[in-house]
């Protein structure tokens, strides 16, 4: 792999090339799912390839190939340079990069149990046991379970002289129970929707989740939702579980602080951001108890956004995004940092494999734990508590959002008084975070994985991490999804 990266870097280091980097990547993955007592998708894949990024004539060019022969690498290198030079036809200024040091490093993510050492039949047996427990409830129409494992080794080499060899193992697992009855579909998932929980761990994650221990309750809730009353419309105090709050952070804080969005790079697809440059250090983003960081370092936790170096060779860092409610930082790249006069990138460039260009992506964007006990968070006189995301939508500047959850309970003085179905809430990002009234402490904090974050053209799917503990928000609009 290192030899491959050097060969590609040699091939692209030609007169007129002012900077180049290469990522040689080898990937293995395994998907195992079950549906209603049978194996669903049982598949594994492996791939190798290189991505060559070059700066020539002041423009970027990028070419990727799975042809790793000398001819294939030469062809990709030539194409990357040709593409860069073609950009002169529509260039306003030469690309400039914030300075960065050269690094020689090898890093392997912690992994207690290699998931690929567990045979597929053991994966299936574990999932089928959960599936059977779900279908022990005769009202369940569809029981689904899933495990996913990815191992990826990437060697990054750049004309700065960096050679960075990183290996990451991620695991994910979860299940859901769907109940169709009398013209209505209700579904519950554990430990989260979108395939469950995903972290930078080995098979130990599956063991920690204790999927079988939660199956009966989840199936029961899916069925009970059919006879629960509809979530009301109006303004209420709202309590969110940590998984839903993680997604709330992702959509209404994580994406808006991507500096490439702010500067217009994503205007045609993902959109822009309300966080224009004049708002840095001036905007009251949230209430005084809201503290958010973007932290790719291992000490933040085993998140999908944890690494040692980003995909343009910048070391993992922690950046304060919101400090005591004040907006204090963007996620940056070497190019965007230079564009706004910052001395250095904070290391958020990530690519979906070797065939994609690195973009600014969330690493682990987390709401730091608060100082309240869980009882204090849940203990409002009257509130609605919502759990597990069902739908998510936000406008292209990230002001107006609406989320649906799988289940809710009406709460009085900290007690669940009745289950509610089809819960939803909506609002404006900054108004929502300024309404944050209580955040539970570190013992209730979970680093969730979002495995399916889309951005870029061609689209890239990235895994991001979001830590949160349950929190309460004052007077939030609820029930809007079924309004009108």
């Amino acid at each position: 792999m290192k030899d491959l990266a050097w060969r590609a870097l040699d091939a692209v280091s030609r007169p007129g090339v002012t900077y180049a980097d290469v990522r040689a990547i080898e990937t293995r993955d395994r998907d195992v799912t079950t549906r209603n007592g049978k194996a669903g998708n049982v598949a594994c894949s492996e791939s190798q390839g290189i991505g060559i990024r070059v700066l020539a004539s002041g423009c970027w060019g990028f070419a990727a190939s799975s042809d790793l022969t000398n001819e294939g690498i030469e062809r990709a290198a030539r194409l990357a340079i040709e593409i860069a030079r073609s950009g002169v036809a529509a260039k306003k200024a030469d690309v400039s990069l914030a300075p960065e040091s050269s690094y020689q490093a090898t890093w392997v993510s912690p992994c207690a149990i290699d998931p690929f050492s567990i045979p597929v039949d053991q994966n299936l047996a574990a999932l089928l046991a959960v599936d059977a427990e779900l279908r022990r409830n005769p009202a369940i129409s569809l029981a689904e379970t899933a495990m996913r494992f990815v191992w990826q080794r990437q060697v990054f080499a750049s004309t700065l002289g960096s050679l960075i060899d990183q290996t990451r193992t991620t695991s994910g697992a979860g299940f859901s129970a769907l109940c169709y009855k009398n013209g209505e579909i209700q579904k519950r998932s554990f430990p989260n929707s979108v395939g469950g929980q995903h972290q930078l761990k080995g098979y130990e994650l599956v063991q920690e989740l204790d999927l079988p221990g939660h199956a009966a309750r989840i199936a029961e809730e899916a069925v009970a939702l059919h006879s629960a009353p509809q979530c009301p419309e109006g303004e209420r105090d709202l309590i969110l579980d940590s998984s839903q709050l993680g997604l709330q952070v992702h959509e209404s804080i994580g994406h808006p602080v991507e500096l490439d969005r702010v500067l217009g790079s994503e205007a045609n697809y993902a959109g822009m951001s309300f966080l224009t440059l004049d708002r840095l250090n001036h905007l009251r983003y949230g209430s005084a108890i809201v503290n958010v960081v973007c932290d790719a370092r291992l000490e933040h936790g085993p998140g999908l956004g944890t690494f040692a170096f980003d995909d343009e060779g910048v070391p993992a860092q922690s950046t304060d995004i919101i400090r005591a409610g004040q907006f204090t930082g963007y996620m940056t790249s070497r190019e965007t940092a230079a564009a706004v006069g910052q001395a250095r990138s904070n290391g958020c460039m990530r690519a979906d494999g070797c065939a994609r260009l690195p973009l600014i992506r969330m690493t682990n964007v987390s709401l730091l734990a608060g100082e309240q006990s869980l009882e204090e968070v849940m203990g409002a006189d009257h509130a609605i508590y919502m759990e597990t995301n069902r739908s998510w939508s936000i406008d292209d500047k990230r002001y107006n959002f609406q989320f649906g959850c799988e289940i809710a309970w009406e709460m009085r003085h900290g007690k669940r008084v009745r289950m509610l179905k089809n819960p939803s809430y909506s609002g404006i990002s900054t108004e929502f975070w300024n309404a944050c009234a209580a955040i539970a402490g570190r013992e209730h904090w979970t680093l969730w994985g979002v495995p399916n974050c889309g951005k870029g053209q061609p689209e890239q799917v990235m895994g991001t991490g979001h830590g949160a503990s349950p929190a309460r928000f004052h007077k939030i609009k609820i029930g809007s999804a079924y309004a009108g």
């Binding site: 799912t33 549906r35 049978k38 194996a39 669903g40 998708n41 049982v42 598949a43 594994c44 894949s45 492996e46 791939s47 423009c59 990028f62 070419a63 990727a64 190939s65 799975s66 194409l79 990357a80 073609s86 950009g87 036809a89 529509a90 306003k92 597929v120 299936l124 689904e144 169709y180 013209g183 579909i185 217009g264 790079s265 994503e266 045609n268 697809y269 959109g271 994609r356 260009l357 069902r390 739908s391 939508s393 936000i394 406008d395 292209d396 500047k397 002001y399 107006n400 609406q402 649906g404 089809n422 939803s424 909506s426 404006i428 053209q457 809007s480 999804a481 079924y482 309004a483 009108g484």
Partner: protein, 445 residues
Amino acid sequence: MPDSAEAIFGQVVDAARARGVTEVEAILASDTSALTRFANNAIHQNVSERNTQLSVRAVAGGRSARASTNRLDREAIRGVVEQAIAITRLTESDPELQPLADPAAYPEVSRWFESTACSTPAGRARAVAEAIGAVEAAGQTAAGIYSTEESSFALLNSRGVNASYRETTARFSITAMAGDSSGWAKAGACDLRDLNPLELARSAARKASQSGAPRELPSGRYTVILEPAAVLDLVGQMFADFSGTAIREGRSFLNDRIGKKVFGGNITIHDDACHPLQSGAPFDGEGVPRRRLTLVDGGVVRDIAYSRQAAALAGAAPTGHGFPLPNEYGEMPVNIVIAGGDSYIEKMLASTERGILVTRFWYIREVDPYEKIFTGMTRDGTFLVEDGLIAAGVRNFRFNQSLVEMLSNVESLSATVRASGEETFDMVVPAMKVRDFNFTEVTRF
């Protein structure tokens, strides 16, 4: 491709037989794509990708699993076959698993064009520069993409299926941004010569100009005129439910609705892989020829897509819409053609006393799976229509709208076009005028 599909499949069969397996299927997919991306009136991301993937499925003792690789040397091919067989033997036996498909005849479609396959970075850059120029001339800022792709796909199995297909695709999308407004246009075609980037740029710039100084209107129910991209991205969300597997599993909104009038009498929808504006292979992920389906006829739900296994379980015939096995979804119609009408956008505007013209929707997500309620936002060109004319741009709305209700409230339809959006794949759809569309909130721009 580095070697012929038949030669590679020969190696697959030999490797499988050496492991005692005779039932094997291989998919060889090759893709060369390039995308020139621009923002702030300059090219800023400019990429190309070339990949070939071999995917092998083994069938043995009622078991089946798939392994894939993008390495195509002899050792890698043997390795991927052995991997497929190893995990097949470890999976659970499924008494409902179908044997591999038998050979069949496929309709002829021609969707590969040299004009697209031979496009160059310089050619794309010139077209992008011209489009940017049109937007800059209007005092606006442009962002967008110009992409080209050449792909081939071959599916072979040990029962003699040898299905192959190749196509080219070109796409141009542009957003024009003025001070407080924006406009958008996008098109896709198999033949690059069917795209007109400059005209798309001018259209986006016109929309940005027209929607300046947007008014804030109250949320509520409005008559809407949905341009084809808006129809595509919203209505396109429901077709995964026209699936025998989805119905059997209780996750389709068509449970207890097949054969019933679910939509208005002016809604007729086909799935037609051979339609001249469509793209994609004329066979499915198992090598079954795609049949033309009448999904909705005058508002009544008629045909459903069936993979071979779903068909066997339902006592129906396979329709050629299955995904490669094993998979979690079964099947889905993917060549949607919504029948049009005799109206057109200007006529819809002229007949509207007060309404909203929508260019596109964004971030569409399902709120209720049975009533098919979706939420999302308008974006890049939302207008107030008064007394038959575009009166002003308006701040963007959030909607929460049931598709069952919406497709019962269609007042008129235009002729059909091939539409491109960002929330689903290209389809052939008309513009629609719809009464009582449910906007529930307004955003800040």
